[in-house]
Symmetry: C2
Subunit: 337 residues, 2 copies
Amino acid sequence: METKAIAFNTGFALIEGNHFEEIMWQTESLSPLDVLVEVHAISVNPVDTKLRQSASTDQWRVLGFDAVGEIIECGSDVSDFSIGDMIMYSGTEKRAGSYAEHQVVDSRIVANIPKNISIEEAAALPLTSITAYEVLFEKLGLIPEENGNLDENILIVNGAGGVGSIAIQLAKWAGLNVLATASRPETSQWIKQMGADISLDHRKDLVEQMRELNLTEMKRILLLHSTDYYFESMAHFLAPFGHLASIVATTEPVNLSILKNKSASFDWEFMFAKTNYDYQIDSQGEILKIIAQLIDDKKIVSTHTTTLEGLSSQTIFEAHRLLETNRTLGKIVIRVK
Amino acid sequence: METKAIAFNTGFALIEGNHFEEIMWQTESLSPLDVLVEVHAISVNPVDTKLRQSASTDQWRVLGFDAVGEIIECGSDVSDFSIGDMIMYSGTEKRAGSYAEHQVVDSRIVANIPKNISIEEAAALPLTSITAYEVLFEKLGLIPEENGNLDENILIVNGAGGVGSIAIQLAKWAGLNVLATASRPETSQWIKQMGADISLDHRKDLVEQMRELNLTEMKRILLLHSTDYYFESMAHFLAPFGHLASIVATTEPVNLSILKNKSASFDWEFMFAKTNYDYQIDSQGEILKIIAQLIDDKKIVSTHTTTLEGLSSQTIFEAHRLLETNRTLGKIVIRVK
């Protein structure tokens, strides 16, 4: 069907002005496992701003990797969902995103929204929750059960960002002692609010701050900010047989041998890899189902803080602008319907 | 007690002549979990030659990380072993090695030798078996059961070395399809004999050879030779969510970001890390017990090929010389008693 979408066709910096445009866009035809969604709210993520700057194409590109919407049509093989279901999803890099009034999405990567939160709160969840869940429970070897990892600890570098805010909550739910870093009084307070047991300042020497707490090593360290900058010090601080994980690409080669005599591992987490490579795709729907249950059970909360009204090139531009200030706390949601 | 040992006190290259010396050496006093062993046979490993070159000390250093011997005294808390037991072990970097007629070893890292093989064959097993077992089943996520990993495959770069020869056999036992590399007709034949399904030539382009086999990626790749040289091409060849593991330290920084969009992992395996850092030490005794059982059940074979007679500075020097030719096949054992 034809739908309104916000798109761009040449990568641009915000300083060049607003090159997002409102276009009429043809949604894809439904494959057997797809659903067609009327989008009610979307959220923006740092990956959106990166792609907006780098994507260079002759075709319109519709970004957006978080949405809540109502199913208005189901593919022939969809059995888990029905027309009228209000669902949430992050989507994939391979298809048109959620900056649109209607979107086609694979039903294996969606879940019904939690019962007792707002549409905006639900729209803030998918990308950050899937990423945080995957890295904690599929990469770092933690057990995805309430208090399933007592006596374990984790250091989350940049705990106040989107992924960090959910990762802190999931790690606390799973029973870990959580150290997280921030760099300003507001973000430090925020990570405490998310449940961090200890707040450190990642603009200062982290190793020194941990030594003051009598910590000489950590078995699990999650880098959510500049792997280039933190790799070496955190690799030295990692415990033997530990896991150092990151979601932020390196731009320079790293000294991997630091980890060698500790028989340690380095793990990348990239949530779009599953849909990009057709690898256990339905696990992302399962993860969102678990997240919805954890919200229903009040074990974790949405990190939504900011709402912009209406899908337009102006609200999308404003959302990108806010993200790029690096001063926002919590997730920015755009109410579409 | 006082015992004969072969030692050196300044790191040396073989070209400088034989600086191993026969000395009388005081074994350590037994801690509660230790046993005192009369050494019957030892084996040499590449790590020995590295330490001989680099170790610089004013004290005598006794190397040796593989032995079979008879227990002649037990520490007060040893309950799993008795005087007269013939055991095998690799030992640890932290204590005197097996180039000696008597040695003290922690009973948690030893096992009774297999029933139906020679002392020499048993002495060839510990270090390579523990390393191969740990990397396959503790790092690469394989299931340590016979045929427990059907439909899985692995590429072992440098399959003809000590660790590779056991890793091929353990991977075959565990049900994997095994691709291994060698560089000469003899080593290529050897890895087939160890059970490799496919033999590749690691002096030629590995990716091209795998493409000819219609393989475009591998989920598990084990580097047992020059991580510096193979990291980049193998990182590119690794499948999404794959694991690239290595036992060979890098000397240069590596481009870790190649693995990022595949959400993949890099794992170091270093067998001395457990005893160096007091981490699950008894797992190494357990591994050797499993290895002995697999030998008894004829599921795997010892890789022993060469025996030198008698513990002397000459036999130790000759063993190091043979290792450094890089032309030996199978393990070199020195019969001590």
